[in-house]
Subunit: 82 residues, 2 copies
């Protein structure tokens, strides 16, 4: 399992409730691909959302986010962390 940071753009105005609903939609199906979404951070002003996950591949992260209705714009493996 590797950690991944994925980034969503175009989410200007996102609310705390919308972020939580999106996260719950991911959690509901993440096991299908062996993914776990750990954290998420949102900047409603620029419309940027960052999600931290552990997953077997970037493709697995991509598929879960697509199925739950919010495709990621970038997905980066982050094998190094502090």
């Amino acid at each position: 399992m590797t950690q991944f940071m994925d980034v969503h753009h175009g989410m200007a105005g996102i609310t705390a409730d919308q972020l939580m609903q999106a996260h719950k939609a991911d959690l509901a199906i993440e096991k299908d691909e062996g993914v776990h979404f750990e954290r998420a951070w949102a900047d409603p002003e620029s419309g940027t959302v960052y999600c931290l996950s552990s997953a077997p591949s970037a493709e697995a992260v991509k598929r879960i986010h697509e199925r739950s209705g919010h495709a990621a714009d970038e997905i980066h493996p982050v094998p190094l962390s502090i």
Copy 2:
């Protein structure tokens, strides 16, 4: 205090030791601006580094990263998080 996610590009090939040294350089001076760098994640392949901090302002984050020798390319407040 607000949380901030900042992003550095152009860090291709960064090692675990270099990430730790950069983080320690931030920690050594962060109190001057009331900033605390909490976490960092790096993708050596694309050369992207993400840093999560709590700080009084984006300017404070910017100044610490500049003084420690690694200016951030983007700094986003992330008032929403999970």
